[in-house]
């Protein structure tokens, strides 16, 4: 049975983003209308039953997260939609926001109703200026049409949705850093516990959810949890967006069920490898997750099976690399990113990412010494599990994973004093300044 896209069915329609189109072709705001007839607790139950797992990276069950939001409190509660989408290789959320904004707006309203919030903030990545314009214009229309604001659809439920633009920091996507940034502070994470569900935005109970996660909520309410769960393997239900990039013929955002295999995603959806070169490695979940090898392509791209294969589905940013990619260069390229993006709050990440980047640069430049390989491993191990937020683990992963699977490339760099991939077709580094 061919998979029928739901989240992205109309993203290529020129008028697909409008309220009229949404109402006519996507049963727009029917989910909200239905939700408002239910008790908030029932919606949480439905989301739990659907098995919806967070699309932001960790795959945490959304219903459970909402249930943890403190109930008996005189404080206001908040929904924060994480639209910071900055993980290298990930570019799905902005498609949803730009091409199907009302789905997210409806999702924000239902989620707010479910946890007892009156305000939802959409924290959008600083660079998504054009997306923000679309989103804000459509939010205006939703207000005018009575889907947001006071007494929504005559139910007595009030809900405001605001878009807040970040200043462009990857770390602002970490949920507590996002909250800090939303409060007007530096985007640096807080120590957990307390978790946002207990003390989040302005120290009030808060649920932070990814854009894609919230976009699934109207569908669950409208079509029922069983429908949602039936869209994929057990505990991995629902439609899923995959961002396929790298050495494929048709890079892009593809909607599929999590039954799909990695091979299908690359060969069928993304059109196969460019120039039919052999695939060398795949990063299945955004730059922060371990590599998979060509012999692992037949696994399903679900949270559970990718994890079983030794990696993580993360944000479903599938980065495909052919044999022209030097793995030392890859690690260095990614560490340039992580070093630049480390918020600097905690010691191991602040100091360690820079050290790793320098070491990789030295090895990549052919000036590495044999001891540098042990040092790389040692420094990475001193970061993993010792940092304040998950950034540290993310930053060390490219090094640990490439060293584990491609140690011979590191060794040959050190031995030969140069990269041993044949120069004419070796992927070269994009232009970047040596430091920021």
């Amino acid at each position: 049975m061919a998979y029928e896209p739901v989240l992205t069915a109309f993203v290529n329609e020129p008028q697909g983003y409008t309220l009229d189109f949404y109402l006519q072709r996507q049963r727009g705001y029917e989910g909200l209308r239905k939700a408002l007839t239910l008790k908030p607790g029932d919606i949480i139950e439905q989301v739990k039953a659907s098995g919806l797992r967070g699309r932001g990276g960790a795959g945490f069950p959304t219903g459970l997260k909402w249930q943890f939001v403190l109930k008996d409190t005189p404080k206001p509660k908040y929904i924060c939609c994480n639209a910071d989408e900055s993980e290298p290789g990930t570019f799905k959320d902005h498609v949803l926001m730009e091409r199907n904004p009302h789905l997210l707006i409806e999702g924000c309203a239902i989620a707010s109703y479910a946890i007892g919030a009156r305000v939802a903030y959409i924290y959008i990545r600083g660079e998504f200026y054009h997306v923000q314009e679309v989103l804000e214009a459509e939010i205006e229309k939703a207000y005018t049409a009575g889907y947001l604001g006071k007494n929504i659809l005559g139910s007595g439920f009030d809900c405001d949705v605001f878009v807040h633009r970040g200043a462009g920091a990857y770390e602002a996507g970490e949920e507590t850093a996002l909250i800090e940034s939303l409060e007007g502070k530096r985007a640096q994470p807080r120590i957990k516990p307390p978790f946002p569900a207990v003390a989040g935005l302005y120290q009030c109970p808060t649920a932070v959810n990814n854009v894609e996660t919230l976009c699934n909520v109207p569908l669950i309410v409208l079509n029922g949890p069983e429908w949602f769960a039936g869209q994929g393997p057990e505990k991995n239900g629902g439609p899923k967006l995959f961002c396929v990039s790298g050495h494929v013929k048709k890079p892009g955002v593809y909607e599929a069920s999590m039954h799909t295999t990695l091979r299908e995603l690359i060969d069928d959806h993304a059109g196969g490898m460019i120039d039919e070169r052999p695939l060398k490695a795949v990063i299945p979940g955004g730059s922060s997750v371990p590599l998979l090898l060509p012999d692992q392509l037949d696994i399903a791209v679900s949270f559970d099976s990718v994890q079983k294969a030794g990696s993580l589905l993360g944000s479903a940013g599938v980065i495909v690399m052919n044999d022209t990619v030097c793995m030392v260069w890859l690690a260095m390229n990614l560490l340039h990113f992580y070093r630049h993006e480390s918020c600097g709050k905690c010691t191991p990440c602040r100091e360690g990412t820079d050290w790793l980047f320098k070491l990789l640069g030295r090895i990549e430049a052919g000036e590495g010494q044999p001891k540098d390989l042990d040092l790389l491993f040692g420094v990475s191990s001193n970061i993993v599990g010792k940092t304040l937020c998950a950034f540290g683990d993310a930053a060390a992963t490219p090094v640990l994973s490439t060293m584990k699977l491609f140690r011979h490339e590191y060794e040959s760099h050190v031995r030969e004093g140069r990269c041993t991939l044949p120069a004419p077709w070796r992927a070269t580094m994009p232009v970047f300044a040596g430091s920021h």
């Binding site: 530096r186 120590i191 050290w355 420094v379 599990g385 010792k386 304040l388």
Partner: protein
């Protein structure tokens, strides 16, 4: 009190509910390093050196942010912890300049101490270090009127940032840039402008924030003595420690080298203001009165004679005679600064009663000054408006202090009387600092014009007023005597003597006892503690009933002080000074009794 019991390294530890594992470890004397944690400010969990293993938790946890629960099993010496901790220390040092020999913090630096204990033996870093403003002490940049900043040494614990935000109330310090490039900064590099700035040197766990006052002045091993005392520069009465630096062997004695706050949860917490911290230099100023001075009544040419040094024995009968003559001619009045200690006020009361009669106190006017201290609205440490430590002490002894500590002293009646020539003698007690009596220029003019026939000044500085006096009696400044003061909360506090009064100067209570005795009053006090005993006896059932049992400390070796004083910083100092030779005799010289009776001690050699 609700408690929880956990085990740390196999030892059962019971602490109050809500305490963190790090606090429990500190209380139990178990070594866990920490940098971003400070007991007086919020928890940050960012430095990562305090990691421990907690059973049933998958990852290592930062002990500073983990609240103790009953039955929790904590390991601080587990190999995983030891390795992780060493890893963090390696990170902390890869960019640290290690310029300890020229760093003021060297010797009392938690980064040194903890790194030696918990860090790896050597670093694997072989890239150039991160440098911000230059190398060595050339990297020290101006950080406002009181501070210097050396960003190379900073370990980005953000204690300073949180201090400014949470205690000072004005978040002047922030971090600019991020990640590897993060640096401590103030807006437009304008530095820290705060009445609380000195505390930043205390909270900074490395030598990144330094006070200009203490910078390059001493090293910890040159400050072997510390005295727990109380600041008397305003009515708050912050508990402080006076640090003494040994003078060179040939000069003997010690000098005051810095003041730091001493933890008292009910008065000042962990903090003190810059007025108390930096405004002690006047006690060592060239204007200090070191010998009694006397002006001969008149010269043959009719010109005013100069003040001449005189021995106490020679001064004493003249003082008595002239006061008695004045008293016979008309009223004798007293003007006392509220910087005078309770002992002094107590003896003065008895002296006035002997000289004037049972309403002798009516002859005394108490003076102090008030000044608004500009502070951020959000501050959690308010520096009081009243600049004197003991208005409440004077009130409790029955002196007229008008509306009290929160009011303004009223000198109008005294001034009118003096100007009108109705006062035959004015005896001023002014233990400093200069200006603490407010505007008293009118007294000097009255004396010069002859409206006031006799002016006696018992003080510490050659002020304009002392310059106009007929007799000048050198007293002791607040750091030079054991004395009690009653702060704005009504709390009776003991300020200990840290250094000796200069030259022939005497503690003020003794000057007054000598005066009283020469007037024939039986004053049975041989020591200040005799006076406190009498105060305690005179005011049973009050805060003074225990006055004779208050503890005054003597200079103690800094190591003991550090252990006894700030509980949060306590155990780490176990490492400090332990290899040093015993404290040299000269630095604790004034542990001996202060001079007894009125005699002329040998003039000490000036350093």
């Amino acid at each position: 009190m609700d408690t929880v019991t956990l085990t740390i390294d196999g030892r059962p530890v019971t602490v109050a509910k809500g305490k963190t594992v790090l606090q429990a470890a500190i209380e139990a004397g178990i070594s866990v390093p920490y940098y971003c944690y400070h007991p007086g400010i919020s928890i940050d969990g960012s430095c990562r050196v305090c990691v421990v293993k907690i059973e049933k938790m998958p990852k290592l946890q930062t002990s500073c942010s983990t609240v103790c629960t009953d039955g929790m099993v904590v390991l601080t010496r587990d190999p995983d912890v030891v390795d992780a901790r060493a890893g963090v220390f390696e990170f902390l040092l890869i960019n640290h300049p290690l310029d300890c020999p020229v760093c003021d913090k060297g010797g009392e630096c938690p980064l040194q101490d903890f790194s030696y204990t918990f860090g790896p033996a050597e670093s694997r870093m072989d890239f150039p270090r991160r440098v911000f403003d230059g190398e060595g002490v050339r990297a020290d940049v101006d950080f406002g009127p009181t501070l210097m900043l050396n960003r190379n040494r900073c370990i980005l614990c953000t204690r300073c940032v949180r201090f400014m935000k949470e205690i000072d109330g004005d978040a002047q310090i922030g971090i600019v840039d991020r990640g590897y490039g993060s640096e401590i900064a103030t807006f437009q590099e304008q530095g820290v402008h705060s009445l609380m700035s000195g505390n930043l040197m205390d909270v900074c766990p490395v030598g990144a924030i330094l006070t200009k006052d203490y910078r390059f002045k001493s090293r910890p091993w040159d400050n072997p003595g510390v005295v727990d005392t109380v600041c008397t520069l305003c009515s708050k009465g912050c508990n402080t420690s006076a640090w003494l630096k040994g003078k060179p062997e040939w000069a003997r004695g010690s000098r005051l080298i810095r003041m730091t706050p001493r933890f008292n949860p009910e008065v000042n917490g962990y903090w003190m203001c810059d007025i108390g911290r930096f405004n002690y230099h006047w006690t060592e100023s060239d204007r200090r009165l070191r010998r009694p001075l006397l002006r001969s009544p008149s010269t043959r040419s009719g010109q005013a004679a100069a003040l001449e040094p005189v021995a106490w024995q020679d001064l004493q009968p003249r003082l008595r005679n002239r006061l008695q003559d004045a008293a016979a001619a008309g009223p004798v009045r007293f003007l006392v600064s509220a910087h005078a200690a309770t002992e002094e006020l107590f003896v003065l009361k008895q002296v006035t009663e002997a000289l004037i009669g049972s309403d002798g106190l009516k002859s005394v006017t108490v003076a102090w000054t008030r000044s608004e201290k500009p502070q951020p609205e959000q501050t959690t440490f308010t520096v009081p408006v009243t600049d004197a430590p003991n208005v409440n002490g004077a009130r409790d002894l029955g002196y007229d202090v008008g509306t009290g500590n929160d009011g303004t002293p009223d000198l109008r009646e005294l001034r009118q009387a003096v100007d009108a020539g109705r006062v035959k003698a004015l005896y001023v007690i002014d233990p400093g600092p200069d200006g603490s009596l407010g505007d008293v220029a009118w007294i000097a003019s009255a004396r010069r014009s002859g409206a006031l026939p006799l002016l006696v000044v018992q003080g510490v500085l050659m002020t304009d007023l002392a310059g106009a006096a007929d007799l000048v009696l050198p007293g002791a400044a607040y750091v030079e005597k054991d004395a009690i003061y009653t702060n704005d909360q009504g709390r009776v506090q003991a300020a200990s003597r840290a250094i000796a009064p200069p030259g022939e100067a005497l503690e003020d209570w003794r000057i007054l006892v000598n005066l009283g005795r020469s007037l024939g009053v039986a004053l049975p006090y041989e020591t200040a503690s005799d006076v406190r005993q009498a105060i305690a006896g005179a005011m049973p059932g009050t805060g003074y009933a225990e006055a004779d049992r208050l503890v005054f400390t003597r200079p103690i070796p800094a190591r003991n002080w550090l252990q006894a004083s700030n509980p949060s910083e306590r155990w780490k100092w176990d490492f400090l000074f332990q290899d040093l030779p015993p404290v040299k005799g000269h630095s604790v010289q004034m542990e001996g009794l202060p001079p007894q009776g009125a005699y002329i001690p040998l003039k000490p050699v000036e350093p």
